[in-house]
């Protein structure tokens, strides 16, 4: 099959033309978020995210695709929560700063799903995309955390990694030296679309959810089509409390935060 790449659309500055509206989107109600980190755990399970360990996590090498940012005032122990909790993940920008800077096209834009993609096997690890992400949403595989010898058990002279049994077969396991980021659980999007297609219908609103939205006990995260005016996520985003992060940078983020009431 002959494949052509339109440079004006893929990972280029010209991506803004098609990106004004977007397709998939999310709303996060910060009034409801309790900072329980269930989304973080669910995301790690769903997307085969490495556990980096205490030391590396403390040094700023967590690989969570979604993180709960805590904001407080004062110094310990006189700490007062101010601003509450803010789950932060890739905003799937329509006009993404990470896209044009990759020298090898590992960060293209999906025309079909209007998402930012990360092609792991194309990535050479320049980390420019992460530097240029104003949301600091990207995480880098600093080492092969999955196969660290101390994580394994010696069974009959062979290293066995019990945690490998919980890997999600729908998602790749990334090796060291590549960038990764939230995909809006694109594997679930595709699964739902395939199912809908085989049944001859459109994907229904609320038919599926990404792992974070599914796990959220307070239902703070809503996912769906933001280009459909009657979907739940559109209604929530447009009810008046919605703000977008760093909107002045013209990144056209697809995640709307509902501020505290």
């Amino acid at each position: 099959m002959q494949m052509t790449v339109d440079l004006n659309r893929v990972g280029a500055k010209g991506a803004i033309a098609e990106a004004a509206e977007g397709k998939w989107g999310m709303s996060i109600d910060r009034d409801l978020c309790t900072g329980c980190q269930a989304c973080v755990a669910a995301c790690a399970m769903e997307n085969n995210i490495s556990f980096v360990g205490e030391e590396d996590a403390g040094y700023g090498r967590t690989q969570h695709w979604i993180r709960i940012e805590r904001f407080w005032e004062g110094a310990y122990p006189n700490v007062k929560i101010a601003g509450g909790y803010q789950p932060m993940m890739c905003q799937q920008c329509g006009h993404a700063p990470c896209e044009p800077v990759c020298p090898v096209f590992a960060t293209p834009h999906s025309d079909a799903e209007q998402l930012n993609l990360q092609v792991y096997n194309r990535c050479i690890g320049t980390r420019y995309c992460a530097n240029n992400c104003p949301y600091q949403a990207r995480s880098f595989n600093w080492r092969d955390y999955h196969t660290m010898p101390e994580r394994g058990n010696m069974v009959n002279g062979k290293l066995v990694f019990p945690l490998h049994n919980q890997f999600n077969p729908d998602v790749t396991v990334r090796r060291r030296g590549v960038m990764e980021k939230c995909t809006f659980c694109i594997q679930r999007i595709h699964k739902a679309q395939d199912k809908a297609k085989s049944e001859g219908r459109e994907v229904m609103d609320g038919e599926f959810a990404p792992a974070c939205a599914q796990a959220c006990p307070a239902d703070a995260i809503t996912f769906g089509r933001i280009d459909h005016k009657d979907s739940l996520v559109s209604q929530r985003s447009n009810e008046g409390r919605g703000v977008k992060h760093l909107e002045d940078l013209n990144t056209l983020p697809r995640v709307t935060y509902l501020k505290e009431g």
């Binding site: 700023g60 320049t126 420019y128 600093w142």
Partner: protein, 481 residues
């Protein structure tokens, strides 16, 4: 580097100190010696090697083996985890080294090409030394870029190679422009180093035996010194001298675009291009001062070629560059501060009073205040070791400048939750490794190729005469070109 009993400045009087104050012979151009003798002097400075040279050479070789090759191999085998890079400082010392070494490499082109085009006579004895810095500095810069990559073994994907999936590199990416600019610069500056070297290689070929003769014979390309050969060589050098100047400006501008094009507080600045070019010249001039000092005091006969007048002229250049640098740094910071953007404000406060503020103040002190304060004084400019110390301080200051721009500025971003201070780990060894490799290349080159462009000095000495105009003795130059 060579056998000489005097290692301390002032232990033996240098050649120019033997002359009276007004004697024109204290200037190299008015102190001609016969051609054969000068050729012998340069050949001798190449051949005479002491145990001290081999000792330093051995130590540097060990450092290169351990800190460059072993450390890099270890990092490739283990992953970037052994380095200090993390979120938010995804870029660390590797890119600091890249920018630093490209900066060092600019001095060579500047001294050699710009001063040659403008016919600044003081350049004559040290164009070669500066050009070698360009080539060897660029090797370190290139190596540092590859160290920085997460999957360096796939770095050839940045080259537009035909492949089955019809994937091409992304020419929208500043890193891609960088790759093209640096490749052009490496090729151009190496050719520009080679062209003026040909007559000296031919000179060395005619005065050596054994493997050296073969080595020089191959490199000299059969140069015999006929009228036609000189005319072609001059045409080629002239062409390259003009062509390499825009390449030099574009390279560091494009390196600065890696930062200036990004959407980050502190980086997104339109003055970064010229600011980086000037910064590169600043560190490069300082490095030339250090190299000339080392050459003059360790190599045989170098006190004839490299004199106080050259340090004096270099000191004036350094002062001028530091003024211009001050202008650009003022332009960069005042505009960012006046703009009042919250993220930029946070960043400036962080530089002003954060844990890395010492680095910021040292940068101002070494790059601007000290050159301002001392280079006015002729005594400082004309004392080689003092000028070398000023050059060293400028280089430390310029290293800090790049360190501030990359990992320190990356610390502060739009997401306060991720702010974190970068700590270098294996980067320190790899930095030592690149410095050792640079010195090793330079020391090897000092034994293999004439560090003094003999023909250029001889040409200058023939062009200079003293003439009497009224009662004054005036130095005049007859222009050959």
């Amino acid at each position: 580097m060579a056998v000489l009993s005097k290692y301390l400045p002032g232990a033996k009087k240098a050649r120019e100190d033997h002359f009276e104050k007004d004697d024109p012979r204290q200037y190299l151009m008015h102190d001609p010696i016969p051609r054969g003798q000068m050729n012998e002097m340069v050949m001798e400075s190449m051949h005479v090697t002491s145990w001290k040279f081999w000792m330093v050479f051995g130590i540097l070789s060990v450092l290169v083996a351990v800190c460059f090759f072993y450390a890099w191999g270890y990092m490739i085998a283990e992953g970037l985890w052994v380095a200090g890079v993390m979120r938010p400082a995804y870029w660390g010392i590797f890119l600091v080294n890249t920018v630093f070494w490209i900066g060092i490499s600019h001095a060579g082109t500047f001294i050699s090409a710009i001063l040659r085009v403008f016919k600044a006579e003081f350049r004559r004895p040290f164009t070669r030394a500066a050009e070698l810095m360009t080539t060897f500095g660029l090797i370190q810069a290139g190596a540092s870029i590859f160290m920085h990559l997460g999957r360096v073994w796939l770095s050839y994907w940045m080259f537009p190679l035909p492949n089955q999936r019809e994937l091409w590199p992304n020419f929208h990416s500043p890193l891609m422009w960088d790759l093209l600019a640096i490749t052009t610069y490496v090729l151009g500056s190496t050719m520009y180093l080679y062209l003026p070297l040909i007559p000296d290689l031919a000179m060395a070929r005619d005065r050596s035996t054994g493997w050296r003769k073969t080595f020089y014979r191959i490199l000299a390309l059969g140069f015999r010194g006929t009228e036609g050969e000189w005319r072609h060589l001059h045409t080629a050098m002239n062409f390259f001298a003009f062509a390499i100047i825009p390449v030099m400006f574009s390279v560091h501008t494009i390196v600065s675009w890696d930062f200036a094009m990004a959407m980050r507080p502190g980086w997104s600045s339109s003055v970064f291009g010229p600011y980086f070019v000037l910064g590169a010249l600043h560190s490069g001039m300082g490095a030339v001062a250090i190299v000339l000092f080392i050459m003059r005091y360790t190599m045989k006969h170098m006190d004839y070629f490299i004199r106080k007048e050259h340090f004096d002229a270099l000191g004036k250049l350094m002062m001028m560059v530091s003024f211009t640098y001050a202008y650009f740094i003022f332009n960069d910071y005042i505009i960012q501060w006046y703009g009042g953007n919250l993220a930029t404000d946070n960043l400036l406060h962080w530089l002003e009073e954060g844990p890395m503020s010492w680095m910021f103040y040292q940068m101002i002190l070494f790059n601007i205040v000290i050159p301002f304060a001392v280079l006015w004084i002729p005594k400082v400019r004309q004392t080689p070791w003092l000028l070398a110390i000023v050059g060293l301080l400028i280089n430390i200051g310029m290293y800090w400048e790049r360190y501030i721009i990359i990992p320190v500025m990356l610390t502060i971003n739009n997401m306060p939750f991720t702010w974190k201070l970068y700590e270098p780990r294996i980067e320190i060894y790899l930095t030592i490794g690149t410095f050792a490799l640079f010195l090793l290349f330079y020391m090897a080159a000092s034994r293999l190729i004439p560090l003094i462009p003999v023909w250029e000095v001889q040409e200058g000495q023939m062009a200079h005469t003293m003439r009497k105009i009224g009662k004054a003795n005036v130095s005049t130059i007859s222009d050959f070109e």
